[in-house]
Symmetry: C2
Subunit: 195 residues, 2 copies
């Protein structure tokens, strides 16, 4: 966290990251269409024009949010066994960030209206579902099991979504521990090959 550099007053990489962070919060919280580039720039404390400079456009910024979020999730996930999956999902859904918003997951569920970004989103979702199905013994062509994996993914996203903005207690403030039990039951019940 504490960078060795003496924090240059003008630092392109730092500014880029500030924009990226602010954008992820806004996009996850308010959605793509409801977020304006001026909101993001103000949150980041930089000039609006720098969004166009560093990300070419609002859509480019959204794509960057999506890809970095996905990278982080991939890094956090690694390879897992079926038994570990509920804990991994509970971690993500509980929100590893300070404000408890599971941004990575929410970003995956929100559509942007941007074709390119939506393609990325769907590709990621597809790969997640196939990974999960694979852990349960899925082989290509087995639509039944793949459907079940996708339903499990969808359920996780729904939980993350409902936690992110909706003050629906006790779900909204449930801890990772609280979610683990129900999620384990959900995954093991839904993702089964003996459909």
């Amino acid at each position: 966290m504490t960078s060795p550099a003496p924090a240059r007053r003008r630092d392109a990489a730092r500014t880029r990251q500030l924009l990226l962070d602010a954008a992820r919060v806004r996009f996850a919280q308010d959605g793509y269409a409801a977020t304006t580039v001026r909101d993001i720039a103000d949150d980041a404390g930089v000039n609006v024009a720098l969004i166009s400079r560093y990300f070419r456009s609002k859509e480019g910024l959204f794509e960057a949010c999506l890809t970095t979020a996905v990278d982080e999730m991939r890094r956090a996930a690694g390879s897992a066994t079926l038994a570990e999956v509920p804990r991994r999902i509970a971690e993500q859904a509980a929100g590893i960030d300070s404000d408890g918003i599971p941004r990575q997951l929410v970003l995956l569920l929100r559509s942007s209206g941007d074709t390119r970004a939506d393609e990325i989103r769907i590709g990621i979702l597809r790969s997640y579902a196939e990974n999960l199905a694979g852990l349960a013994g899925w082989t290509e062509g087995d639509d039944k099991l793949l459907l079940r994996a996708q339903i499990a993914i969808a359920a996780s996203l729904g939980i993350a979504m409902l936690r992110s903005k909706t003050p629906l207690e006790p779900l909204a403030s449930a801890t990772e521990q609280d979610l683990l039990g129900p999620l384990s039951d959900l995954i093991s019940a839904v993702v089964r090959s003996d459909a």
Copy 2:
């Protein structure tokens, strides 16, 4: 449905309904912020200004969509046993409408940015969760079971959401029958009092 009146050329009630129908499709498909009043009016085949006339504002129209959608779901739901719940949810998620979009459910997950509409949404979600928990023997104060019911609701919404716009096969085009099995497993595994 078939009104006795011979369809007057200028019919306020009919126009209002046309706007309501078009708005529900748009809001569910594209979200609140990404939908413009001109889109809705064009879909309904009426003039834009009539939205302000009949619903006071775009937000007023969204609120009307929510309340009517909720009414329809209440009417369709009625009283049910726990065993019937998966089928009811599968019906809604599969989409009883012609285009297969589960509008009612999706509307409940999409937020508008409008405070009043969000309050309605949350109230509905809370009542659904309590109903579902009640079927499993929930008594006030049992947060564990209520949490599980809310997770089941969230899962259903996530499925509906992912089906609505995302071409994620086989989930996107799964039929009510396809969903019934996995959903039954999900509900019965998640909504249990012996947590």
